[in-house]
Subunit: 275 residues, 2 copies
């Protein structure tokens, strides 16, 4: 083997084709919260979690729903930049909360060839989406059922179509809370059902010890609305006084009120990111 005197000399001579190569994609689980349609005026039906899916118009998995994503260009962009580019394409928005989630890389996840997917979770306030989004894209409301024998069921509904996903969770080791996910259904393209479940669980966990939830809130909101978003993400009801104790220091009351809802108006608050 040839001996090199310096790093520059080595780099000049380096044969970049000596290793097997592969392609990578960035795939994004974009989460938001939608209002449940009101059946009667004055009654608030709460909120529901939503995620953005895109219908594939090409093989593989033609005509299947999947997460927005795309191939990363190794010469020019990082995985996060790639994800940002895709989010811009799908939502026409920049400055979206974006966090790396997990790298999925099973050998046959893409039937064409080895493709490693770096997944991200993104959060958005849906009210910012004024323009119609990409015509292949659609928001699906998400309902999550935790069941007995280690099976989680996700029901996705975009008003026209209902998708059901079942995922088995196996504890990987007895010392942690890590699970191996196995998709029982084969509803979405690739392994994107696993990405969605990981994404939801990540945000759910972070909701307990960070302020991520505010990335799904508009500038001004009532504490009732904020509480509903927490409840949707955490998947459980919260008691009013306890909730207000917790977020007391995270928000600032403004002098504006939300009125005309058929009952007592509520004060509008904004997020206090500084202290």
């Amino acid at each position: 083997m040839k001996e090199y005197k310096s790093e520059e000399e080595f780099l000049k001579d380096y044969d970049s084709s000596q290793f097997e190569k592969l392609s990578m994609t960035s795939d994004i689980c974009l989460i938001s919260v939608s209002d449940v349609e009101k059946k009667e005026y004055r009654r608030n039906n709460g909120k529901i979690m939503s995620i953005l899916l895109v219908k594939r118009d090409d093989y593989p998995y033609k005509d299947r729903w999947c997460l927005p994503g795309g191939f990363m260009n190794p010469k020019e962009e990082t995985l996060e930049e790639c994800a940002t580019r895709i989010l811009k394409r799908e939502t026409n928005l920049s400055n979206i909360y974006l966090e790396q989630l997990y790298t999925f890389d099973s050998l046959k996840r893409d039937p064409r060839l080895r493709v490693v997917s770096c997944s991200f979770v993104a959060l958005i306030d849906k009210n910012l989406l004024v323009d119609p989004i990409n015509k292949n894209a659609s928001w699906f409301d998400v309902t999550l059922f935790e069941e007995k024998n280690n099976v989680v069921t996700l029901v996705l509904d975009n008003g026209t179509e209902t998708l059901k996903i079942e995922i088995e969770k196996h504890l990987k080791e007895k010392t942690t809370d890590r699970y191996a996910f196995i998709s029982k259904t084969n509803t979405l393209a690739f392994d994107h059902d696993l990405v969605i479940l990981s994404g939801i669980e990540r945000i759910r966990n972070k909701t307990n010890y960070t302020d991520v939830v505010f990335n799904m809130m508009p500038e001004l909101f009532t504490l009732g609305e904020l509480q509903q978003v927490y409840e949707v993400i955490l998947g459980k009801k919260l008691l009013d006084p306890a909730f207000r104790r917790i977020i007391k220091d995270k928000v600032v009351k403004t002098d504006k009120m939300k009125t005309g809802e058929g009952h007592r108006p509520s004060a509008l608050f904004k997020y206090k990111g500084n202290h």
Copy 2:
């Protein structure tokens, strides 16, 4: 553009070279805990965190220390399998606790070409390492100082050599606890200093709500030893009664004792992974 009738037909015709490709590595932050040498018999000097580093014998970064790692073979193995293979090579052990950490992919992290690194954290009980490990590898004791102006200092010492690493932490967004790490020193090869800090922080966080720590414990241990390991990972002293309350349900007392330490013997416990 050609139209395909079926997925099989498409796959047959698929040109896998149409996308730019890249290489990936798995890099592992292997963490353990070592006994601090006793200055005097009867006195227990506690424990210290240790990580395994390997001296590079080739360009780039020739003669620099780095984490054990290596190129993943896209045809045959997943990133986790690659990490397992490397751990086996370096420690001669299988069945090591291994968890995916983060995918590092800045454009110039490897001066040769675009290499994306999927990093892992691994935990081990150092007592299991009977055979001499790989001659290029060495355990470094880790001391971590959290300083004022967002700078973390890591001091690594293997008895012969002392490495100092300074990393700036910038809060990425006001709603979370996520930080951008920027290395101030350039002590280790690649961006492995960032991987080490991420790894330590991951294990530190998980220690608060899981049992990961037991992956660094031998079969039998005293509660004093266990407490010292918790203290080393968490970077703070714990009060005895509080600690015992917390781990009470995680361990089982055996009828064996640890004696001959120059003071009162203590009961040996083992991890209770079932209940």
